[in-house]
Symmetry: C2
Subunit: 370 residues, 2 copies
Amino acid sequence: MIRRQILTGGAALGATALSTTLASPAVAQTAPEIRWRMASSFPRSLDTIYGAGDHVAKRVAALTDNKFQIRAFPAGELVPGLQVADAVQNGTVDCAHTASYYFVGKDPTFAFDATVPFGLNTRQMNAWMQHGGGREVLKPFFDSYNIVSIPAGNTGAQMGGWFRKEIKTVADLNGMKMRIAGIAGNVMQKLGVVPQQIAGGDIYPALEKGTVDAAEWIGPYDDEKLGFNRVAPFYYFPGFWEGCLNLSVYINKAKYDELPQLYKDALESACRDATVDSMAKYDVQNPQALRRLIAAGTQLRAFPREVMAAAYKASFELYDELAEKNDHFKRVYDQWRAFRDAEYGWFRVAENSFDQFVYAMYAQEAQQRR
Amino acid sequence: MIRRQILTGGAALGATALSTTLASPAVAQTAPEIRWRMASSFPRSLDTIYGAGDHVAKRVAALTDNKFQIRAFPAGELVPGLQVADAVQNGTVDCAHTASYYFVGKDPTFAFDATVPFGLNTRQMNAWMQHGGGREVLKPFFDSYNIVSIPAGNTGAQMGGWFRKEIKTVADLNGMKMRIAGIAGNVMQKLGVVPQQIAGGDIYPALEKGTVDAAEWIGPYDDEKLGFNRVAPFYYFPGFWEGCLNLSVYINKAKYDELPQLYKDALESACRDATVDSMAKYDVQNPQALRRLIAAGTQLRAFPREVMAAAYKASFELYDELAEKNDHFKRVYDQWRAFRDAEYGWFRVAENSFDQFVYAMYAQEAQQRR
């Protein structure tokens, strides 16, 4: 705040002294022309998730009268989608749009910036990030990578994915090959699953040929595009490893520090704008896609409670193991866990009881219409 | 989009032709100095809900290098809180920050812009407004009041309020005087309640003296400030008449149309920013406030299902009655109802099953800790 006053103090004075038909030099000083490249981790075909990064770029331009222009590039055009953290860290690109859990191979602490199994839902994640200390507790970690990470987009709770056969007990998971990555893969491994890392575009043939028995991706709208319903009949819910997926704009720290405060503000509001925008898009598209999938024969299945409970236990055992070995992980986890518990204590009251009731009434009405 | 290109085309050309140390006249043309006054419907003491309007004002200034300044005034300083729609319509003030359901006395259609009983939750409301056709379907209605309404802030699902005695059946509501307004009041009236319209500051003495038997306000954080826990022991949930409360920035249409596109963009992103920001603030503050209230003796109670079901039936009967008499209401209701049903069909799958499971595990763990 103090910094902002120093930077713009001159501008305000200058603007007052001059008429509005002649711009003050101070405005030009605080509004230099800047061109950035943004490497997305996503393909352009995913208009929702790629679109969130692109939305940030477009809003920044709109908010700065095109003075600060960010151009988004799909995964692979500047750097491969899973290497954008390196590219931002090294300054090869100015910024990126990604899901932080892609980088848990470097350090599992990255996952908290995106999602962890049985973690926060979208509202709770936004709360943690914006006013719950999340960004602050993650800062020293991201500093060590020369990255400034700003929340920018969310998918909401994801689906559990596509299964070639039904899952009735934990034993059914034993030896099952499933496309699932990162910490979620580690959790599933504790339940007997053989996790597979497969890029989005390669999932369909793997599922078709039976190279994998199951695959998780995102939710109805994105999954439908990749056609998984044609090669696996059972669509499970919920994706208990992704109660939401927070997306992030990564910015090279030195580049970020060079920005005038005006552009930092534009970037911040553009990212929050993208968070509202992308969630709204998903929430409009997913219901329609789910209806189409079901009409085309997809069979919706809830994970058995036994499976969820076993995965829950495995998840928190894993977090304890990771916290013991990794100081960054422990520091973030401790703060996050206390926040999560406080959120759950409140959300299960007004929010969840409202949702539960109206969904039950909806189900009853839908039943009657049949 | 076309309009934007026409407006800023000159600016882009000018900026390219000149060096960045001298600002182009075109920038000044698209960035005139503008000062607006915003009349809030809320007192400054409600830092959450008043704060959302104030946040819009501050972000607009930050995004325009203080060229476009909006000054927020608490309810009563410019106009009384419940008269801000008139003030914006007449151009007495440039803009306002309010909850549209305050104006259902003029026309019940206003309610859709805020919330209606058994309506949308926060995510669903954002989806309806931003990509679900909500703003479009409301536009002809707001046009008739010379108002441009932009969503700006949300409270989340509210609590059902403070009751001096327990509610076990619908019969317990008979003759009960409750501070509850608007469409929610009409619904409760169908259940035997005698609804009372009382301003926020007057609720405490009314509840203390027994002039009313019950009063609803917002949620733990705001309710705690007004001290209702000291005069009523039972705190009911959920506020089924407010699955969320969307707040709105009202702008005089002529004033809005005069804004350069740059400022319209700033206003739009500032409002979305406020939506993320205010919801995050509530979601951080409410859990803490609820814990304090319970520690101080407040007894949490869920509304009996019988009461909820009776209110649900009464609500949709009321909507049908209103739709028969009011074309605006009917047009908005028909579109809204189809959207709501589609949302419920999807949200009860991944989103709700995730929430249900983790809250159940939380409750089990909390039980074990005791």
